[in-house]
C-alpha cells in the first residue's frame, strides 16, 4: 500500500553501507525525513557524513542497502527523468554551446527540441545569461558555468532539484552572490530542492529547513526549521537571529567533536 503523497520526498529508514577490505562502512544509517512540495531543504554536515550518498540514492544512481525513498509517492529505484541534479563542478560538455548544454536532458529524453529551446532561453534569461546561448563553456567564468548547470537541471521541469555542493568550487564572493541568485530563481520557480553543503551559513541562508548530519555512520541529528522571512538579503547574515541558527547547528557538531564543520 503506497502512502498518500502529500510530501514531495519521503525518505524512510534509509541505510547504505559499502563493503571495504576491512569489513563494511556504514555511510548512511537509518535516515528518515520528508520534504514538502516546494520546500527548500539544506543538508549540512562534515565530509564523510553520507550527504553525497544520500543525494546519489535520491538521484537513483546508487541503490540503497535498506529502507526506501519515494518521490511523489513512487519508489526511487533507478535514474528517473523527473529529477534535476546539479553537481559540485558544472559538468558541461565543451563541444556543446550553452544552449545545447542546457538541452542535454531534452536530447537524452528525446523531447521536442524546438519547444524546449524556448524554455531553455527563458531559463537562461532567468539565471542572468541572456545572450550567452551560443557561447561555449570555456568562454564563461566558473559562476556562469554553474548557472548553466542549474538551467540544465531545470529545463525539463523536474519534480525535484538535487544540488550537491553546487557552489563549493567558487570563491567566497561569487558564492554569496550565487546564493542570492539561487534564492531568487527558487522563489520564481518554487521547485522542491534538496541542497547539500558543508557551509552552515549557506545552509541557514538558503533553507526553509536544515537537516544536520553527523559522520560515521552518517546519521540525521537534527532538523532545524529556519523562520527567517524571504526574500533574504545578504544582510540577514549579520542579524542575531541568523547567528543563533548558525550557532545552534555548529554546537551540534562540537558535541560530536567534528572539526571540519
Amino acid at each position: 500500500m503506497a502512502p498518500v503523497a502529500t510530501e514531495a520526498i519521503a525518505v524512510h529508514d534509509l541505510s547504505k553501507s559499502y563493503a571495504t577490505r576491512d569489513g563494511g562502512v556504514v555511510a548512511l544509517d537509518r535516515t528518515t525525513f520528508n520534504i514538502d512540495e516546494g520546500e527548500f531543504v539544506a543538508v549540512v554536515g562534515p565530509s564523510g557524513c553520507g550527504k553525497s550518498t544520500l543525494l546519489k540514492i535520491l538521484a537513483g544512481i546508487l541503490p540503497a542497502s535498506s529502507g526506501d525513498a519515494r518521490l511523489r509517492g513512487t519508489l526511487i529505484d533507478g535514474p528517473r527523468r523527473d529529477i534535476g541534479v546539479v553537481f559540485q563542478s558544472p559538468v558541461l560538455f565543451p563541444w556543446r554551446t550553452v544552449l545545447d548544454n542546457v538541452l542535454l536532458p531534452v536530447d537524452v529524453q528525446r523531447l521536442d527540441r524546438t519547444r524546449f529551446a524556448r524554455v531553455g532561453l527563458d531559463l537562461l534569461n532567468l539565471v542572468g545569461l541572456r545572450g550567452f546561448d551560443h557561447r561555449y563553456p570555456w568562454e564563461l567564468s566558473g559562476g556562469m558555468q554553474q548557472r548553466v548547470a542549474i538551467t540544465r537541471a531545470l529545463v525539463h521541469d523536474p519534480a525535484m532539484l538535487l544540488m550537491d555542493e553546487p557552489f563549493g568550487a567558487l570563491d567566497a564572493m561569487t558564492r554569496e552572490h550565487m546564493n542570492v541568485e539561487l534564492q531568487r530563481i527558487w522563489l520564481e520557480r518554487k521547485k522542491t530542492v534538496l541542497f547539500i553543503t558543508h557551509s552552515i551559513p549557506e545552509a541557514v541562508f538558503l533553507g526553509d529547513r536544515v537537516l544536520v548530519m553527523t559522520p560515521r555512520p552518517g546519521r540525521l541529528m537534527d532538523d532545524v526549521r529556519v523562520d527567517i522571512p524571504r526574500p533574504r538579503s545578504l544582510d540577514v547574515m549579520n542579524t542575531p537571529e541568523f547567528g543563533r541558527y548558525v550557532h545552534h547547528i555548529r554546537s551540534l557538531f562540537n558535541v560530536k567533536g567534528a572539526v571540519d564543520a
Binding site: I61, P79, L104, V108, P137, S141
Partner: protein, 282 residues
C-alpha cells in the same frame, strides 16, 4: 614565437647560411658527389626529376599507397579500439595479442608482406595500414575510457542509455585523442609505404631511392628525401587543419579568446591529448 619581420629575416638568414656553409664545405674539401652532393647538385637533380615528370609519377603512386594505408589502418584501429574499450570480453581475450603485436617492429614484416601480396599496390597499402593501425587503436581506447566520471554520473542521472552515453559523451570526448592518433598515423603510413617499396616494388619514391642507390646517384636520393619531408609536412598540416575544424572547442586549439573572469577561473575539464608514442623500428 610570432612571424614578425625580424623573425622572418632571421629565419631566411639562418637558412641561407646553412645552405651556403654546406655548399662551401663540399667545394673547399672537394667531397666526391657520391658521398655528399652540394646543394646546387641536389637542386639540379630535383629540377631534372621534376621537369621530366618522373618524380611526379612516382610521388603520386607513393601518395596513393600512403593514403589508402592510412585510411584502412586508422579505420581498423578506430573500430578495434572502440571494441576493446567498450567490451570487456574483447579486451580480455584480444588485448594481450594486440600488445604482443604492438611490441613487434612492424616494418620487419615488410619482406613477408611483399612475398604474400606481391610487388604491386596491395602489399604497400597493407604495410602502411599495419604501421598506421596502432596509434589509432591505442588513442581511441584511451579516449573512450577517459570520459570524466562526473559527466558519466550526469548522463546516468538523466536516465541515459549506454548507447546515448557513448554517442553523446564518450565519442566526442575521445575526439582529441583520435585526432592525435591520426596525426601520428599519417606519418607512420608514409614510413610503412616507403619501407615496403624498399623491399620490392615497381613504382614509388621508395623504389626510386633504392634504384638510385644502386646507381650511386646520391644527389638524386637527396632530392627525393627533400620531397618526402615536404610531403610529410604537408600531410601533417592537413591533419592539423582538420583537427582545428573538428575540435574548435578544445582549449589546446585556441588561445584567441580569454574566458570571462568575474570569479574563479573557468577550468577547462578536458583530458589532455596524449600522443601515442609507438616504438617503430625504422
Amino acid at each position: 614565437m610570432k612571424w614578425t619581420a625580424r623573425n622572418v629575416g632571421l629565419t631566411a638568414l639562418l637558412f641561407v647560411a646553412t645552405i651556403g656553409a654546406w655548399e662551401a664545405v663540399v667545394r673547399i674539401f672537394q667531397i666526391p658527389v657520391f658521398i655528399l652532393p652540394s646543394p646546387t647538385q641536389v637542386g639540379m637533380a630535383l629540377y631534372r626529376g621534376l621537369a621530366s615528370g618522373v618524380y611526379l609519377d612516382h610521388l603520386k603512386y607513393t601518395l596513393l599507397e600512403t593514403l589508402l594505408g592510412f585510411i584502412v589502418g586508422s579505420a581498423l584501429g578506430f573500430f578495434l579500439g572502440t571494441a576493446v574499450a567498450m567490451n570487456r570480453y574483447v579486451e580480455f581475450f584480444f588485448y594481450p595479442y594486440i600488445v604482443m603485436f604492438q611490441s613487434l617492429p612492424k616494418v620487419a614484416l615488410a619482406p613477408l608482406i611483399v612475398v604474400w601480396f606481391g610487388l604491386g599496390l596491395t602489399s604497400k597499402v597493407i604495410n602502411a595500414a599495419l604501421v598506421a593501425f596502432f596509434p589509432l587503436l591505442v588513442n581511441t581506447m584511451v579516449g573512450l575510457k577517459s570520459a570524466d566520471e562526473d559527466r558519466v554520473s550526469l548522463m546516468r542521472s538523466l536516465a541515459a542509455s549506454n548507447q546515448q552515453i557513448f554517442w553523446m559523451l564518450r565519442l566526442p570526448n575521445a575526439l582529441p585523442f583520435v585526432m592525435a592518433g591520426l596525426d601520428v598515423a599519417m606519418i607512420f603510413a608514409l614510413i610503412g609505404a616507403i619501407v615496403a617499396e624498399f623491399v620490392g616494388a615497381q613504382r614509388g619514391l621508395g623504389m626510386l631511392i633504392q634504384s638510385m642507390n644502386f646507381n650511386m646517384d646520391v644527389s638524386g636520393q637527396f632530392s627525393i628525401l627533400l620531397i618526402l619531408s615536404l610531403v610529410g609536412l604537408i600531410l601533417n598540416r592537413i591533419i592539423m587543419l582538420i583537427r582545428r575544424r573538428v575540435m574548435f572547442w578544445d582549449p589546446s586549439e585556441k588561445n584567441l579568446i580569454e574566458p570571462a573572469t568575474d570569479d574563479v577561473t573557468a577550468t577547462p575539464r578536458i583530458g589532455r591529448v596524449v600522443e601515442a608514442k609507438e616504438g617503430v623500428a625504422r
